[in-house]
């Protein structure tokens, strides 16, 4: 009976440590995929094996282990390298046109189509 309990405890311990490990790894991969490689600038550091990308991956890992959140890690890299380092840049005054233009074009295009087919005229 005792050995069974010990085995259960060991099993549970490993199960949970494995769980937390894989969660960290998932976050690490997510962040790595969103950071641009400094040497091969079309790739994320997740895809790259250049020396600097490897170093960046290590920095991300260390920062996660030290308890920093995803946002904090992004803002650290943003301070060092600028918004450019993120593959998913945040909405701000510099890039709002890029974010809004597709929606605007979509709406304008839709209105043009509606006018062409006379849908709007009939309604009005």
């Amino acid at each position: 009976m005792k050995t069974k309990i010990v085995i259960y405890i060991i099993f549970i311990f490993f199960a949970f440590s494995k769980y937390s490990f894989s969660n960290d790894l998932k976050l690490e991969n997510k962040i790595n995929k969103n950071l641009r490689c400094l040497i091969c600038q079309g790739q994320s550091i997740y895809d790259s094996q250049s020396d600097f990308a490897e170093s960046m991956k290590l920095v991300v890992k260390q920062k996660i282990e030290s308890g920093m959140s995803e946002e904090e890690i992004y803002s650290f890299f943003k301070i060092q390298y600028g918004e450019w380092i993120l593959y998913d840049p945040q909405f701000n005054t510099k890039n709002f046109a890029l974010w809004l233009l597709p929606i605007l074009l979509f709406l304008v295009g839709g209105i043009i189509i509606l006018i062409k087919f006379g849908v709007l005229k009939k309604r009005l």
Binding site: I39, D51, F52, S55, M56, L58, V59, Q80, G82, W84
Partner: protein, 174 residues
């Protein structure tokens, strides 16, 4: 009449696009940041290259008006090109040069310094490359010029050449 305008506008449009692409091709496609953000140099703790003792930047960045932090490695070819300029800077100007040895083998680094002279007052080890990322480096070689307040006043991405050497001279003599 209407047809003619139509033709002209097409020709003008094509010329316009041609020049846009023509100048676009001339642009560098490798991004380098333009603004030299005046930020404080992080106080990292690294191992000394010779003594292997833990050394913080706060302990090193004293006793000079200007500091040059240079990231180098013996395996990096452009570092060999820029090294004579570092030696000259050390000889001619009152600047303290600090080396960060990036992902290098100790023996090779020693050989490199033997061969090309040692302009560094202190050399620190960055074996896994994390310190260079914490500083905000883009590659090897890279140099940061700091003032007495440990603020980065100039960042040189890539090797120091004659032009950049003169820029540093001007900056320090100001």
């Amino acid at each position: 009449m209407k047809n003619r305008y139509y033709k002209y506008s097409i020709v003008i449009f094509l010329i316009f696009t041609f020049f846009i692409f023509y100048y676009g091709l001339k642009e560098k496609n490798f991004y380098t940041p333009e603004d030299i953000s005046i930020k404080k140099f992080p106080n990292l703790i690294l191992n000394d290259f010779y003594t292997n003792t833990k050394t913080s930047f706060d302990d090193i960045l004293i006793g000079s008006n200007y500091y040059l932090v240079n990231i180098w490695a013996s395996w990096c070819l452009p570092c060999r090109e820029e090294h004579p300029y570092l030696v000259q800077l050390k000889k001619n100007l009152s600047i303290k040069i600090i080396g960060i040895n990036y992902k290098d083998k100790r023996d090779n680094a020693l050989k490199f310094l033997d061969e090309y002279d040692n302009p560094y007052s202190v050399i620190l080890n960055d074996n896994n490359g994390t310190a260079s990322i914490e500083i905000g480096a883009y590659g090897v070689p890279e140099s940061f010029i700091l003032n007495t307040e440990k603020k980065i006043i100039k960042k040189i991405i890539g090797p120091i050449d004659k032009k950049k050497f003169n820029e540093i001279k001007k900056l320090i003599k100001k």
